[in-house]
């Protein structure tokens, strides 16, 4: 394929229509990162104890499951699908870890089986969505109830709490003497892997193509079904891993662990600039979105503001982040100014000569 060469090119093209600084700075992702940095600075200056020794550790431990699941969720949403069953898979893996450990299995062996269960859950979602062709919203609402039901059914209302101390320590420990929790290590590895997968691989190009136009993707030889299947399996496995971490951190396996986390994950992904219609978004924006929500929650908690208020603020932020780009786009199209149009819809002068 790559050996084929075009005949003498008649002209060359600029690779980009805008200078580097514009492509880097005038993006949704940069806006989220800047906002996150601003909120962190504000909190350090104004919120008592925000710069305390434990804040960073607890903050990162709190957002670790969301950070983890946001990785595959970003790819799933970019293909135009959604996975609402992630929190239920966390719950199911938590219960499996507890039940298997209670019956004498070592923590690593039980965790491995829990991961496999997550894989199976993801494969079920993926099969129904990618190969049977059912809508992901309906399928994962169903499996959200199904997996949660199995989790609660297995353990009832009781909790398993007697985990080997060694593994609980791993889940709550930090890297050396720093304030960074150990869980950030597997997260960092996964984050690098997902960035490469989405932004620097042919698979990732296919993910965007599917989200923008799955029919055209099919016509160019992207295996749409296999791509979606793989993403749902990844989502299942990573959710199970997050569930195991969650269980060991709190030393408690319960059927209702992590209830409602799916919405926190999706909120963060959307806040980070991923389009719910698919095809747009980048991972660094999403990770900034997760951190932003985490910092706001943490700062408000230190200010003794109730969780309800936190939710209201996060909710408003999310709605504003969805509305703002369209408001900006419509105002800038009404005012005939030169540089105010958003990057997506910005036509250049040359578009006129190319024909519209």
């Amino acid at each position: 394929m790559s050996t084929h060469k075009p005949t003498a090119p008649a002209r060359t093209y600029a690779a980009y229509s805008a200078p580097l600084w514009r492509r880097v700075l005038l993006t949704r992702e940069t806006a989220v990162i800047a906002l996150t940095a601003a909120v962190i600075l504000y909190s350090i200056v104004n919120v008592p104890n925000f710069d305390g020794p434990l804040t960073l550790k607890f903050l990162l431990q709190d957002i670790a499951p969301i950070l983890l699941i946001a990785l595959p969720m970003t790819l799933v949403i970019i293909t135009g699908e959604i996975d609402l069953s992630v929190a239920s898979i966390m719950g199911l893996s938590s219960v499996l870890l507890g039940v298997l450990h209670e019956n004498g299995m070592s923590v690593p062996a039980a965790a491995l089986l829990a991961l496999l269960a997550g894989l199976a859950c993801g494969a079920l979602n993926g099969f129904l969505i990618a190969y049977v062709g059912l809508p992901s919203l309906a399928v994962t609402i169903g499996t959200l109830a199904l997996f949660r039901g199995i989790a609660v059914g297995l353990l009832g209302t009781k909790a398993v709490t007697d985990f080997t101390e060694k593994w609980s320590d791993v889940a709550t420990g930090t890297i050396g003497d720093s304030r960074i929790p150990l869980v950030i290590i597997p997260f960092a590895v996964l984050a690098v892997a997902f960035v490469v997968l989405l932004h620097f691989s042919t698979f990732g190009r296919g993910v965007y193509d599917i989200g923008l136009n799955d029919e055209a993707a099919h016509f160019t030889g992207v295996d749409v079904a296999r791509t979606k299947f793989i993403l749902f399996v990844l989502s299942g496995v990573v959710s199970a891993f997050a569930g195991i971490y969650f269980t060991l951190r709190f030393g408690s396996a319960r059927g209702d662990n992590a209830t409602g986390y799916e919405l926190q994950v999706i909120a963060a992904v959307l806040l980070g600039g991923v389009s719910i219609f698919g095809g747009r978004g980048r991972l660094h924006g999403v990770l900034a979105g997760v951190v932003l929500i985490g910092v706001i929650s943490s700062a408000l908690r230190l200010e003794s503001v109730t969780v309800n208020v936190t939710n209201i603020i996060v909710g408003c932020l999310l709605v504003a982040s969805v509305i703002l780009p369209s408001v900006l786009a419509s105002t800038s199209s009404r005012l005939p100014r030169k540089a105010a149009t958003p990057p997506e819809s910005r036509p250049t002068q040359n578009a006129a000569s190319a024909g519209v």
């Binding site: 394929m1 084929h4 008649a10 093209y13 620097f200 042919t202 136009n213 055209a216 160019t220 149009t341």
Partner: protein, 505 residues
């Protein structure tokens, strides 16, 4: 301009302009349409015809210029206002409510009422019947709009326009998706409307239709008015040179190519209810045309051969090696390239950049150790875009910002980059302006000369007859004739395309 009538024209636009941000879509549009006349509006894609129509329809508001309707200056800020003023626009693909009945679609938003504000269905059915009789078409007013052909849907739009007593009807490329018979019926309707004294504006890329239907023609180029001629005082070649601003002498520059070994072999391909017993062969250097009416199964066969659709039985092989069915990836590996009919939905990821589109199929080949960066894609895509002379300011511009002709070049670049043995191209020049059309034809001819096997589907008979070395004619899913270039006359092709019964035996 034409000798001025005593009465004010139905529509008169002078020096109308419209810009979108920095993009000037219409610099200086002028159009004068008289009552009882069919006025053709021609120009390349991007000449500003559609923008002009949208100004008339009230979709866009003009920036400058005068806009008069029946001598009165008007200024529409919505489509409702233009409808109120008696303007009806019929688009290439009508947008009806599929679940509602034909009658409900016609009377949408202004249903006839009987006592007690109840909807008077009987009166509506009767009036719909009356409209269809007047138009000389037979459509059941009670049936749902779902499943109607595009031609019938357009008739419904026209019926709606008449029931609103529109004095000006604008038809934007109404014939693009119609078969010969349907075009004739549409033209008969258009002529009867003209004879009733209404004014019609007809936009088309097909000159035979312009000359068959219109009495006056206005040419636009680069967003500006060029000239208006009476149709009996002009010729197709004159219009073409007005449109492109230069002479295009040969629309179909087919050069003879050396024909080599068979590349594509299709044997006994079947899909229940769609196509039957399809045997075909395309040799290296050969262009095989697949002709037939819309709905004869041409595109369906192409899609099955390439593997985007399944087939029930039969076999496909490229250069002697069998290709797995229903698997585009194995078709691509075998050396097939497929440029589908619907560029915006199937050919391109329209919201993606030129680079991502051009490198869309070859990216597996340009990745190093599984890693792929934008820079690598730009490097690979740039020369291909250049080879096809794609007009764009930068490689990261989205395909959606480009004209139809340039989009088609992007699709062709994408597939040529794979170094294919066989190119299947469905409607190579649909919705493409005259200049680019000739470029595409020249390119196909050159590619065949380099030994590429080409299977070309086209609804434009001159294109098939001009380009193909061999023509296969389909009718209702069966190949009804195989004609060599010398034997392929319009009569022979149309005969085979409509006479399936005796030929299918």
């Amino acid at each position: 301009m034409i000798a001025s009538n005593t009465a004010a024209p139905v529509l008169e636009l002078r020096d109308v302009s419209k810009s979108f941000g920095p993009v000037v879509a219409l610099r200086s549009g002028s159009l004068r349409v008289d009552a009882g006349s069919i006025h053709a509006l021609v120009g390349e894609n991007g000449a500003g015809k559609s923008t002009l129509v949208k100004v008339v329809a009230g979709v866009h508001r003009r920036d400058t210029g005068t806009f008069e309707l029946g001598g009165e200056p008007v200024d529409f800020s919505s489509t409702a206002e233009s409808k109120q003023a008696g303007i009806a626009v019929i688009y290439q693909e009508p947008t009806l409510f599929p679940d509602l009945s034909v009658t409900e679609n016609i009377f949408m938003g202004r249903q006839l009422l009987s006592r007690g504000r109840r909807i008077d269905r009987q009166a509506m059915y009767a009036e719909a019947e009356g409209l269809f009789t007047r138009l000389g078409v037979r459509i059941d007013p009670r049936r749902p709009a779902e499943g109607l052909s595009i031609a019938d849907q357009q008739i419904i739009e026209i019926a709606k326009a008449i029931s609103l007593d529109a004095r000006l009807l604008v038809m934007d490329e109404p014939t693009a998706a119609l078969s010969g018979v349907e075009v004739e019926r549409l033209f008969a309707v258009a002529r009867s409307l003209r004879d009733e004294g209404r004014a019609l504006v007809f936009i088309s890329h097909r000159f035979d239709e312009v000359f068959a239907l219109a009495d006056t023609v206005t040419v636009m180029r680069d967003g500006a008015y060029i000239d208006t001629r009476r149709i009996d005082e002009t010729s197709p070649s004159e219009l073409v040179s007005l449109m492109v601003g230069r002479d295009v002498d040969d629309l179909f520059p087919k050069v003879p190519a050396e024909i080599g070994a068979p590349v594509l072999q299709v044997r006994g391909l079947n899909r229940a209810g769609v196509f039957h017993d399809i045997d075909l062969e395309v040799r290296a250097g050969e262009i095989v045309g697949l002709a037939g009416l819309v709905g004869a199964g041409r595109s369906e066969i192409a899609r099955a051969v390439f593997g985007v659709d399944r087939y029930d039985s039969g076999s496909v092989s490229v250069a002697g090696k069998p290709v797995k069915g229903h698997d585009p990836r194995s078709a691509i590996r075998a050396g097939m390239a497929f440029i589908p009919e619907d560029r915006r939905k199937q050919g391109l990821v329209i919201d993606s950049s030129v680079t991502r589109n051009v490198a869309g199929v070859i990216r597996r080949g340009i990745a190093k150790a599984g890693l792929l960066t934008s820079a690598m894609e730009h490097r690979a895509a740039g020369p291909w875009a250049a080879t096809l002379e794609v007009k764009t300011s930068a490689l990261d511009m989205t395909a959606a910002t480009m004209s139809g002709g340039n989009q088609q070049k992007v699709v062709i670049a994408k597939w040529l980059a794979t170094g294919p043995k066989l190119l299947i191209i469905d409607e190579p020049t649909r919705g493409i302006d005259v200049g680019t059309k000739a470029e595409v034809h020249r390119l196909l001819s050159e590619l065949a000369g380099q030994g590429l096997a080409i299977l070309m589907i086209s609804s434009e008979l001159p294109e098939v007859l001009g380009m193909a070395d061999r023509v296969l004619v389909l009718c209702e899913g069966r190949i009804t004739a195989e004609l060599d270039r010398a034997d392929a006359t319009p009569e022979a092709v149309m005969h085979a395309a409509t006479h399936h019964l005796e030929a299918a035996r």
